[in-house]
Symmetry: C2
Subunit: 203 residues, 2 copies
Amino acid sequence: MPQGKPTHVPADGLTTRQRRNRPLLLVHTGQMKGKSTAAFGLALRAWTAGMPIGVFQFVKSAKWRVGEENALRALGELHERTGQGAPVTWHKMGEGWSWIQRGDQADHAADALEGWRQIQRDLAEERYKFYVLDEFTYPMKWGWVDVDEVVDTLAGRPGFQHVVITGRDAHPRLVEAADLVAELTKIKHPMDAGQKGQKGIEW
Amino acid sequence: MPQGKPTHVPADGLTTRQRRNRPLLLVHTGQMKGKSTAAFGLALRAWTAGMPIGVFQFVKSAKWRVGEENALRALGELHERTGQGAPVTWHKMGEGWSWIQRGDQADHAADALEGWRQIQRDLAEERYKFYVLDEFTYPMKWGWVDVDEVVDTLAGRPGFQHVVITGRDAHPRLVEAADLVAELTKIKHPMDAGQKGQKGIEW
């Protein structure tokens, strides 16, 4: 909203412009669906602003994000063809990360850690300007990825890189480190009325 | 989430498929930013599912949605050229609705009502399958548009048309009529730390 004004101006020695142009760590958490959808909505803004987008999905099945994936990939292809917007790169753990030669059995803990290692490399190289780490709260919760390492890496990331992390039960240290934390709260959901998910809405 | 299961199955005589394929009225409300962004994220799914999208923005300034607008318009143009996805139509009250020859002075109450009248016509003609009525809670709150008329029109809309309404202070009768109500709650926001909005994130 255009009316948004800072509630106070901190004595951090930064100009408004410097403060404005700080890269952000955003966390979308809460019990409600829509956390990832909101993150992908934000990616639309990043795309328009010309920020290269990197999506890392820490989910077992890719089916439930296919709507956003397909549309954002289309925007990425549009960029390749016309220069509009920004490139979009989409990585999925569920099918095995594309940069890894998968062995025999899937090991979710190892896969998640591999995903995080790639994110670390990409952050160090400043490969994207807008990262979506979809459902990344779970590998942290389950101990597959070290929370302190995540927080330290994000705090020390170079250059100008926004990061959005989605998922329930965001770790308190992640919440503390974040610039913005949005919680999605369910007031009412069709599944309460016995309705199952449907195409175009749930995926 | 794939794990989502109805908490109970209602005795409404519908099969699961019939119940699944019911058009939904969704409300994104709460004090947090991101309500509209989440709605536009949902529009990505609708686009992929081939549902024609109609956006009606009941906001004075269009500047703050330009990121989403630009990206979704690009998807609409992609559809026109390649047949991928679905058409996207974007209406803005702030610049005068495109279907109206603007007179001299802007009258926000009259403009809002004109917007709602067009939505009524479009619903009656089943022009779109996915409507975003962005910031539409305010014209209802301010009495520019009659709440009962909105609820009745939406309840009686023909065919298969999803409607998402965003904005703070959703009227209780609208909440009652909705299939899904999501509230965005602020846990932490950069503006609290004296940071102003920035391109690619706030617009």
